[in-house]
Assembly symmetry: C2
Homo-oligomer: 355 residues x 2
């Protein structure tokens, strides 16, 4: 691998996904065909990885292998991994971000373990209480996506955490979606200011009070239907609610897609119709294919970690790699850090709120 | 209207929906064409309603009009309606269930006000702490639907409430979906027993402990993706989470449908394809059309109230009426009451739980 600054290098955990290292290496090959400037540090069992990389023409020029004998599996407990997981590919992949060799790490492995290792090794940004996982959600907005966080880093979030999520989500929307002045909404069961839990009302006032100094627009409470909508660009919620919403949305989209496939294979006429509509349907399928928006981003740490779906195939891994690349090249980690630091210094706390 | 027992009579709030009484009366006419045995008590301004009903041939034979001069509008506060709403069509419609003239009431109006009036006039079943709103969700199960509750009656729910939701949801699945031994799942952010909030673990043990005596199967924790899935028939959650999930699912389905329509009008070829696939697409659209599964059912009261979508059109209203009819004819109110009473007498509380 040629020398490059850290923003041109991604740290890849090649093990631990449901489909094994084959899918990850195939994803790397696909990503690099599109963006030949990519360089990877690939973590895992070199005896397994070397032949897989050698099979892909030219890929080895983009890769530095780093041997890790152990693998974090899906049902490993995070606490256990913290004690005994130092020789795993996941640990090694995060470590390369800590050491500054790469700015962004990508893993398809166990989410809880990845978050635990990231927390311990990268540590939280000053002023951040709880890190969050942000995702891109296909939407009616011109950018094609909305940002939603937290989708499951922590099942709790107090009003201060929700304000921090808003600030981090805005930074992600600026860098990931190219929006100048993102609109933020706070997820609730109604749009009226009187609805919902007490801590949500407090968070509402906090996020509102900081909109001017932190250069975003606050649209107030939004509902589940606004997540794929165009009322706002960033949807803020706690990790419990966000995780349920994410999985409900994914499940619903999958259900509708399967019903659609069934409808098109129901009769000979509908099969012909499917052929005629192929191009249009492919465009649709691309737009709502979860593999193409694959990648939850851990925010609030010293360094960026992209968590790919455990079941990601070649297409899914390539999408997560492309996202990691964009974030790395835009210097996202540093920008986020600067934004949180600035906001933390000048937090406006409405009367009655906590300091 | 001819004499009939209360199970053949539905009490209809004809005012307060977004599309006005025209849509409600059109829905009644459509419902009665399919089920001529239906009888209605129709509540609202008779000067408005009489000509609307007269326009529909034969409909007046099925209707008894009951004059109510006031209307609850969408932004009326429930507390205000309780104080000053006695002359509203909504109040009158609920009153007819209280008096025993009808077993089930249907309204397209303000959900909060409808729940408040129902609580005050019908009162909770003995042993029920919080009533819940249950809906049918299109699913991969043979019945075509799953039951989910609570979707927004109350933003809080403690473990005892979640157990009561399970019991009421099972009763609804038996009567509404014809299932002998419904499978219940508790919504959480993961299926492992160690995941989620402490009160969810407590609810998990309570629902598990009562499965045998109350003749249901408990599949444990389920995730958002299982709501349209086939792992269980009844999904139990608190009203905050349930409302977010419902609106996220509806929003996602609407988004995918709109993208599909766009895909089919993109090119001349895709327009021809749409024509060819018309029948299959209509079948799909019917299956996932929220208007056809219209109707949240208030459970846990002395009497059943069906809340139709505020924006329901003729098709939507007819679907809510059909649901109300099925519940009325099956004697659902009495069965639910018996089930809750039996369970309350013999609740198994696992060690460490509350009595």
């Amino acid at each position: 691998m040629s020398d490059a600054d850290a923003s041109g290098v991604l740290s890849i955990d090649a093990m631990g996904g449901d489909l094994g290292p084959e899918a990850v290496i195939a994803g790397l090959a696909r990503a690099v065909r599109k963006t030949p400037a990519m360089r990877f540090i690939v973590h895992g069992d070199t005896q397994v990885l070397e032949p897989l990389i050698a099979k892909r023409r030219g890929l080895s020029d983009h890769c530095t292998l780093r041997h890790a004998q152990d693998v974090v599996v899906m049902d490993d407990k995070p606490s256990q991994v913290l004690r005994t997981g130092k020789a795993t590919s996941m640990w090694s992949a995060v470590e390369a971000v800590r050491s500054g060799e790469a700015q962004v790490c990508v893993s398809c492995g166990n989410t809880g373990a990845l978050m635990a290792i990231s927390m311990i090794r990268l540590r939280r940004l000053p002023g951040i209480n709880r890190p969050a996982i942000a995702i891109l959600w296909p939407s009616r907005n011109p950018a094609g996506f909305n940002v939603m966080l937290d989708v499951g880093a922590d099942i709790r979030a107090d009003p201060d955490d929700l304000l921090q999520y808003a600030l981090m989500g805005i930074s992600y929307a600026r860098n990931g979606l190219g929006l100048d002045r993102p609109r933020v909404g706070l997820l609730n069961v109604g749009t009226e200011e009187t609805k919902g839990r007490a801590e949500l009302k407090e968070a509402h006032d906090l996020i509102e009070a900081n909109a001017a100094t932190s250069h975003y627009e606050f649209v107030g409470f939004v509902e589940g239907g606004d997540i794929p909508g165009d009322r706002c660009d960033v949807i803020v919620t706690d990790g419990f609610t966000g995780n349920i919403a994410l999985k409900t949305g994914e499940g619903t989209a999958r259900f509708v897609r399967d019903m659609l496939a069934e409808a098109f294979s129901a009769t000979p006429l509908s099969k012909i119709a499917a052929l005629l509509a192929m191009t249009s349907l492919k465009r649709l399928s691309k737009r709502i294919d979860p593999r193409r928006v694959n990648g939850g981003v851990f925010l609030g740490l010293n360094g960026t970690v992209v968590k790919s779906h455990g079941s990601a195939d070649e297409t899914g891994v390539a999408a997560a790699i492309a996202l990691a690349w964009d974030l790395s090249r835009s210097g996202f980690s540093d920008r986020l850090q600067a934004r949180v630091a600035a906001a933390t210094r000048s937090l406006d706390v409405p009367s009655g709120g906590k300091a």
